[in-house]
């Protein structure tokens, strides 16, 4: 094998692939060959690096130079500058948001250097389709040690010491859950990995499966050992084709290498894993619905107890955790439960991955110790709100969560603190909103989501969410009366208390939390018939500022209803308000800021 002087890590996470990183790889390899550098520089395709808005992303080792938004056309110049002339190719560096200085390396970039990576330690570093790279980083060592030197009790004890809580949303202590399954009577038991990441705005589970699938397989095998199960299932949502492909490949490689299958590490312990692909139903993220779906039925939840730990898949005791929870297991086994418990806060241990998105400068996955403040995540890591707008609220926990307003920016992000302000950690979606986001519209969005996704089994959820949605729709159209607000609160309480599963019980949360912090905004919609964020179409109008209009006709050519006409004898345009459908196309296409919303 040639001794490479440099390695190019090319992010091939879902985000970068959709920005066209694979042609960059081809161009890179062709160019290196053309310049006779193929023996000196190696190109490795990795999983998600985390900075999804900058893709396609390249990191060149050993200096960790970080290049962003690389196109195939940039490659010849990049190779010329970096590898032949030995200097950094400045045009593709990241610019610091505050100082306008160029950031050359990954270490200098605040987005990365404030993070603590445990779950994502291998993502963006190893080639996920090559088991040897995982093994070279100590992979499957923990499984081997556990099987040959430890007992299931020891594993569960370490897990309890670590204080790890389920990362899927509810935050149930993982050690206790594993212990339940271990002690549950029954010959046959199952281990299930919930990769049905349905929470809109969360994509860490996808990134782990795409970037480091073996970590999840190894943890499931350890879980199988601890709970004396011999079969595991990973339930992945169909919307993640790349994660499915890479996980399938990883399972195949692990079987060939003897890390899955019969008599692992020459012991009597056998364990194998199969993939089950979902078919697009949010409710299948609920554990009992997920189990029904694995059995090939409609994904409808059932009342608990009995919990899956006692009666799960095909009525047998079943251990269910989500991807991120499993991704914490191997470090806990190798470095010890006490080490893990030293990170985070008193009741929320370890790190949490948040999917930072929305109105934020640096979008992507960030992993921070539990208890890191929202301000640090938004401003230090996320780089703040772009375009000179002001932070208004952060939405956590998706359709089951709530909004955190600016006054709580210094809140530590952990299970207890978020619960106190009426939100949840959930699966880790963190959507930032600025002044241009309407909170009533956000609440309506989540309620529409729950209406669509309600499985229909219990009436409070099936009928209640629809009624709540109807009220919110009335408010955003300026047709509501003040009594409707009380009715809304009453309905929310009812749905919360009487629904069968987590979906319905938490569905009113976004409404309740926006009502708690942004009641004024609801009142403005109802009383003044005004949407202060200028989002709700029924309450806004578009017009053209004639002083700014240059008469380029772009708006008129793009208007779907032909409501924009030329003012006679002038190089100006005007909108006919009576026929305007408020689609916003003119606002988007105008290059001179002449179309105004009011």
């Amino acid at each position: 094998m040639p001794a490479y002087r440099s390695t190019v890590l090319l992010c091939a996470g879902g985000g970068c692939i959709s920005c066209g990183c694979l042609p960059v790889r081809e161009a890179m390899e062709a160019e290196l060959k053309r310049r006779n550098l193929a023996d000196e520089v190696r190109v490795v395709q990795t999983g998600c690096v985390g900075s999804c808005d900058l893709g396609p992303v390249l990191i060149v080792y050993p200096d960790e130079v970080f290049y962003q938004k690389v196109s195939p056309g940039d490659v010849p110049k990049l190779v010329d500058e970096h590898f032949l002339k030995g200097r950094v190719f400045e045009r593709l560096l990241v610019k610091s948001a505050e100082t306008d200085n160029l950031i050359a390396t990954q270490r200098e970039f605040a987005f990365f250097n404030k993070q603590v990576k445990i779950v994502l330690e291998n993502c963006g570093v190893i080639d996920p389709e090559n088991i040897e790279e995982y093994v070279a980083r100590g992979g499957y060592l923990a499984l081997g040690q556990v099987i040959s030197e430890r007992t299931p009790e020891w594993v569960i004890e370490e897990l309890k010491k670590s204080g790890l809580r389920g990362r899927g949303g509810a935050g149930f202590p993982a050690g206790t859950k594993w212990d339940f399954v271990r002690k549950a009577p029954g010959e046959r038991k199952y281990v299930v990995c919930n990769a049905d990441e349905g929470d809109p705005g969360a994509f860490m589970d996808r990134s782990v499966l795409e970037g480091d699938p073996h970590r999840v397989l190894e943890a499931m095998a350890i879980a199988g050992f601890a709970a004396s199960a011999d079969q595991g299932y990973i339930y992945v949502r169909a919307e993640y084709p790349l994660a499915i492909r890479r996980t399938r490949r990883a399972i195949q490689q692990a079987r060939e290498a003897g890390f899955l299958g019969r008599n692992l590490f020459e012991s009597s312990f056998s364990f194998d894993i199969d993939i089950r692909v979902g078919a697009g139903a949010f409710v299948c993220g609920e554990e009992t619905a997920l189990l029904a779906s694995i059995e090939g039925k409609r994904g409808i939840p059932r009342p608990r107890p009995p919990f899956p730990a006692v009666s799960g898949l095909w009525g047998k005791p079943t251990l269910i955790n989500n991807v991120e929870t499993y991704a914490c297991i191997v470090p806990i086994i190798t470095r010890g439960g006490d080490w893990y418990a030293s990170i985070g806060t008193e009741k929320s241990k370890g790190t949490k991955v948040f999917a930072l998105a929305g109105k934020i400068r640096n979008t992507g996955l960030v992993e921070v110790p539990m208890g890191t403040t929202l301000r640090e995540i938004v401003y230090d890591i996320g780089g703040g709100v772009p375009n000179g707008r002001k932070f208004k609220a952060a939405q956590t926990g998706g359709p089951s969560g709530g909004c955190i307003p600016a006054e709580h920016l210094d809140i530590p992000m952990d299970y207890e603190s978020l619960a106190k302000v009426g939100s949840i950690v959930g699966s880790g979606g963190l959507i930032i909103m600025d002044e241009d986001s309407c909170m009533v519209d956000v609440a309506k969005f989540f309620m529409e989501f729950c209406t669509d996704e309600s499985c229909g089994k219990c009436p409070p959820c099936r009928v209640g969410t629809r009624q709540i949605y109807g009220l919110l729709d009335k408010i955003t159209k300026g047709e509501a009366r003040i009594e409707d607000l009380h009715l809304l609160e009453e309905l929310c309480g009812m749905v919360k208390e009487s629904s069968l599963c987590g979906l319905g019980q938490t569905a009113p949360n976004p409404v309740l939390s926006t009502l708690r912090y942004f009641r004024d905004e609801y009142l403005e919609h109802i009383v003044d018939r005004r949407c202060p964020a200028k989002v709700c179409p029924s309450l806004i109008r578009y017009s053209i500022d004639e002083a700014a209009c240059t008469g380029c006709s772009l708006c008129a050519r793009n208007c779907p209803e032909n409501t924009i006409f030329k003012v006679e004898d002038q190089k100006k345009y005007r909108i006919d308000p009576a026929r305007c459908v408020k689609c916003g196309v003119c606002f988007d296409v105008c290059r001179f800021g002449a179309v105004v919303k009011s």
Partner: protein, 299 residues
């Protein structure tokens, strides 16, 4: 349920039998079997559901219950192109809903429906996990990032003409991955002679009395800066190398979607200019008598 197309396969549905056999007729594999049948047939017609029930030993009611429960199964025929707009939270706060409304208005159908001509099926997804790129629209598996209602017409016209162009995050670069002549339908991409790492667009070109062949990069705007004197240059006319149909309509403005005026500039660049002020550059290689000299003069 629509049974028209199903009938043509025949009552035995051998394709379904083969898929079910691959799963050993397992009851638990029902979802996987239905997915594969849908992939083969495009949707789940009644005869296929009956065949699945027969081969898995489950009742038709059971099979229908599962097929109608999950969003990704379709009991109706689908269009030639699938347009899927993401409505995840991140896309929503950046205006995803307006994008769906624009798509719906342009296509004349609501989400979940297919256009009467069978061209497009419009769908929405709850989150595609590409939150950094939102609002996201996926056409036949290709991602369009940071879409707004103003870009919708262009995306649809590209899908219609078979020229799909996934875009980089900030819309600076457009990329053609499939191109056929709109007149004769023959391919224009030449994989054997790539430029910028992609198959090049191969066309006949005419400029200032010169006629020859041009190979144009599929990647937009990768050269540093447009030539300053571009406006003074002669325009280039592009033709299909197979049928000589005019192709200038193929290169459209990335901003407003109307056909651009193309000019050849120095060091092998094709500059596209639009009335809206937009200028884009593509790398180009030109062959033919006097072509090199022509370009040298222009620069």
């Amino acid at each position: 349920m629509d049974t028209m197309r199903g009938d043509t396969i025949g009552a035995d549905a051998p394709d379904v039998a083969a898929i079910a056999a691959a799963h050993r007729g397992s009851r638990a594999a029902l979802i996987a079997i239905l997915r594969e049948v849908q992939a083969a047939r495009g949707y789940l017609p009644e005869d296929a559901l009956r065949a699945v029930a027969r081969h898995t030993g489950r009742s038709l009611v059971d099979v229908y219950a599962v097929a109608s429960f999950y969003h990704s199964f379709s009991l109706k025929p689908r269009g030639r192109h699938t347009v899927c707009a993401c409505l995840g939270t991140a896309c929503h706060v950046r205006g995803g809903q307006q994008v769906v409304e624009a798509l719906s208005r342009e296509l004349g159908v609501r989400a979940g429906e297919t256009t009467p001509d069978g061209e497009f099926t419009l769908e929405t997804a709850n989150c595609l996990g590409a939150c950094a790129l939102g609002p996201v629209v996926v056409v036949d598996g290709r991602y369009f990032a940071k879409v707004n209602p103003g870009k919708v017409r262009r995306i649809l016209s590209q899908a219609r003409s078979g020229v799909a162009a996934p875009e980089a995050a900030d819309g600076e670069r457009a990329l053609v991955t499939e191109a056929v002549c709109p007149e004769c339908g023959r391919p224009l991409l030449d994989a054997a002679r790539p430029i910028d790492g992609y198959p090049s667009l191969q066309v006949s070109a005419q400029c200032n009395g010169w006629r020859g062949r041009a190979r144009i990069s599929c990647v937009d705007g990768v050269l540093d800066g447009a030539p300053e004197n571009a406006a003074a240059l002669e325009r280039v006319r592009l033709f299909c190398p197979h049928c000589s149909a005019g192709l200038n309509d193929l290169l459209r403005c990335g901003e407003c979607g109307v056909p651009t005026v193309s000019v050849l500039a120095g060091d092998g660049a094709l500059v596209q200019m639009c009335g809206c002020g937009e200028q884009r550059v593509r790398r180009a290689e030109v062959e033919g008598a006097g072509a090199r000299r022509e370009i040298a003069q222009l620069s």
